[in-house]
């Protein structure tokens, strides 16, 4: 299990989009959008549909 995860991690790190210096701005943007969505759904009122 440990070796399997370590090998998997190694393979993922070698992918072109994971080279040092790659632009990962989208990660924090996506997180922020997800958080806004969760807050909005918490504020939303239930609507009776029938």
């Amino acid at each position: 299990m440990v070796d399997h995860l370590a090998r998997l991690a190694e393979r993922i790190e070698r992918r072109p989009w994971n080279q040092p210096g790659s632009d990962k701005t989208w990660v924090l943007s996506a997180l922020s959008e997800h958080q806004k969505w969760v807050r909005a759904t918490k504020r939303a009122r239930r609507v009776r549909t029938r």
Partner: protein
Amino acid sequence: MAALAGAGVEFVLVGVGAINFYARDPAHAFATLDVDVLLAPRVANLRLALRTLAALDFRFESGGEPFLDVGDEAILATIVGRGATLCARHPSSAQLDLMVAITGFTYAELASDAIRFRVSDSEIPVGRLAKLLRSKQLSGRAKDRAFLEAFEARADDDAE
């Protein structure tokens, strides 16, 4: 994050938020509401992080209660000594969990080979994927075991 890096705060990203940095695109990322920021466990570094974030209107919580003792050296020393976590919240930004300890690795072990990714105009250190996964494995928490199962199921695409 950029402000922390710019202020000279020593940190490395860990947890699911950091694991998402290795995803191919948003469709392969995992839903999370916060980013775990592992700080170099020193009072001066914690104080600098808190001051930097406070200047950006972040508010802090500890154990669900407001944390206002940002400048209290003794309390900051206790946080560092106990390895406690502070939550930094902002109305229009991702929640940051400020940690000074993580299961399985020291700050130095994670920072020593962290990969620096670009976020906007800053370079942000992110813990190595194998260590982040290993830390989850070592924690033994049910939610971390469930995460690892989901990660393995989804990661095969990314690893090919």
